[in-house]
Point group: C2
Chain length 184, copies 2
DNA sequence: GTCTATATACAGATAGAC
DNA sequence: GTCTATCTGTATATAGAC
């Protein structure tokens, strides 16, 4: 019962997480669901509009998952673990985080999409900082919550990037070991 | 006194670190130094050959810099600091590490270039591990040298990626603060 | 080593019919 | 919402002259 717009979005999201925005075209998007490229333009006027849709869709789903973690877990350690596991599930599909991939292509994005990307990273860091501030007694470190949040998120994005090239999950595993050691 | 091949390599290296391999063409490369695209093909038969040249060139220069750090510094802390500063100088030019950028585009690379990319990351991690093993008494951590090396490198690559989008140097700064706290 | 010229393919995008 | 048809630009790549 999925409409074509929905199919296009899902396929494009996956393809961009694998190969980047420049790796997809209106033609290939169309072919994959059996329509013509001009019909894709009906749903997404241009590539910038498509990118915006994907970033918004990905962000919404991501922050919904973060909210879930905040609500359904008790200990800081368990929350951080669940957060890292989101990235592990991306790695298992041999993809990057959508925003991590687009970050490499930022020069090809317009200003409004760059702003959306930046917002994704900043808001994720804010979510981590809030977590840490809610459980100050469970943190084993002198590093500030802000610095911890920034290094954790960029560390996970980098781990996805390198692990996919090397062909294992060792960097994600190392990041997990490192950051779990910060929480009792 | 630079030959055209040298000019092409330098321009391409910079352009790929900024916008990725898919953002450059034989045409634009040619125009930037005032020749025709067919002449670029004389120097680099195809894009795969160009990519290989860039990875090898970048890796050689990078590992020469690492050797320099190994030789000219005494304390582990000073060596790690110098290593991180290599990434800071890349960030200042608003670029990514060449191999970090190509890691995002790995699906568009052939097998031999993927192997070169992987080698770059693995060899860098080995260099860090060796450093750590040479100064066991200067490490303040229970994390294994291997895990530290893997998380440090992927953390720095991720920091370059995110900082460029957000438009500051905060993630690189956070990584530096975090890892410097591991060494006396 | 560099050129002109060209082959071939694919890209984003739009007009207008149904 | 989807189609056919088309415009325009750009890509990789090669043949052959100079």
């Amino acid at each position: 019962m999925k409409g074509n717009r929905e199919k296009l979005e899902e396929n494009a999201l996956n393809a961009v997480q694998v190969g980047g925005l420049k790796s997809i075209s209106f033609r290939t998007m169309a072919e994959e669901i059996g329509i013509k490229s001009s019909s894709v333009h009906y749903h997404f006027p241009d590539k910038s509009d498509l990118a915006r849709t994907l970033i918004e869709r990905y962000s919404e789903e991501f922050f919904r998952a973060l909210k879930d973690i905040s609500n359904k877990r008790w200990k800081l350690r368990s929350k951080i673990k669940a957060f890292i596991e989101i990235f592990e599930s991306v790695a298992e599909a041999n993809k990057l985080c959508l925003c991590g991939m687009l970050a490499a292509e930022v020069e090809q994005l317009d200003q409004s999409n760059r702003a959306l990307l930046s917002e994704y990273f900043i808001d994720t860091e804010k979510w981590i900082v809030q977590l840490l501030n809610e459980h100050p007694d469970e943190i084993i470190s002198d590093i500030s919550p802000t610095a911890l949040a920034r290094s954790l998120l960029s560390g996970l994005e980098g781990a996805l990037l390198l692990d996919r090239v090397v062909g294992d999950r060792q960097r994600l595993k190392a990041q997990k070991e490192l950051y779990m050691s910060y929480f009792s």
